[in-house]
Symmetry: C2
């Protein structure tokens, strides 16, 4: 199991549209068989900063996400809404160590 | 519902002990009535960097966590294992917006 935290800085005029597009991505991503979580969070101190908390049961499942139509649609649609290149940070899961707790 | 991402840089000699202590904290924290998640993650590119993904159903539940014996025990025990002051970043939850998906 792996987690990727994707940090996105959005231009102020794009915040509402970014939330709408990422909600669509969330709704489709959580239906992927290998998806464990796809949480969309907005920083309290900076409403233009978002984090997507993506957990997948394997590297293969995470890779597969990037081939889905909903991901490609989101990637292309948010391109002009980002203030800078988004950053993905990869983590190894220590706890919960059991698949059933995800 | 709120999420706090706690970033901790641990001294290299303290990594094993930090994981042991934070596992204990995880096991007790997920039993708190207002806790939604308490994930412990280790950065792939830097095994001394950890993130704790803490989700609570309310600010009150999050505040209550800091009064528990298991939190206080963890806080005191990890003090000398940290390379620098840990940082908590607070997020508003956009999705999943339903309590039942946490």
């Amino acid at each position: 199991m792996i987690v990727t935290c994707v940090h996105v800085n959005v231009i102020p005029s794009g915040v509402e549209e970014f939330i709408r597009l990422t909600r669509d991505n969330h709704n489709a991503s959580i239906l992927e068989p290998g998806n464990l979580r796809f949480d969309l969070l907005q920083m309290e101190d900076d409403s233009c900063h978002f984090m997507i908390y993506e957990a997948y049961e394997s590297q293969e499942a995470s890779d597969l996400h990037k081939t889905t139509l909903h991901y490609i649609k989101w990637r292309d649609a948010v391109k002009d809404l980002m203030a800078e290149t988004r950053q993905g940070i990869r983590y190894r899961i220590v706890e919960p160590s059991s698949r059933s707790q995800w």
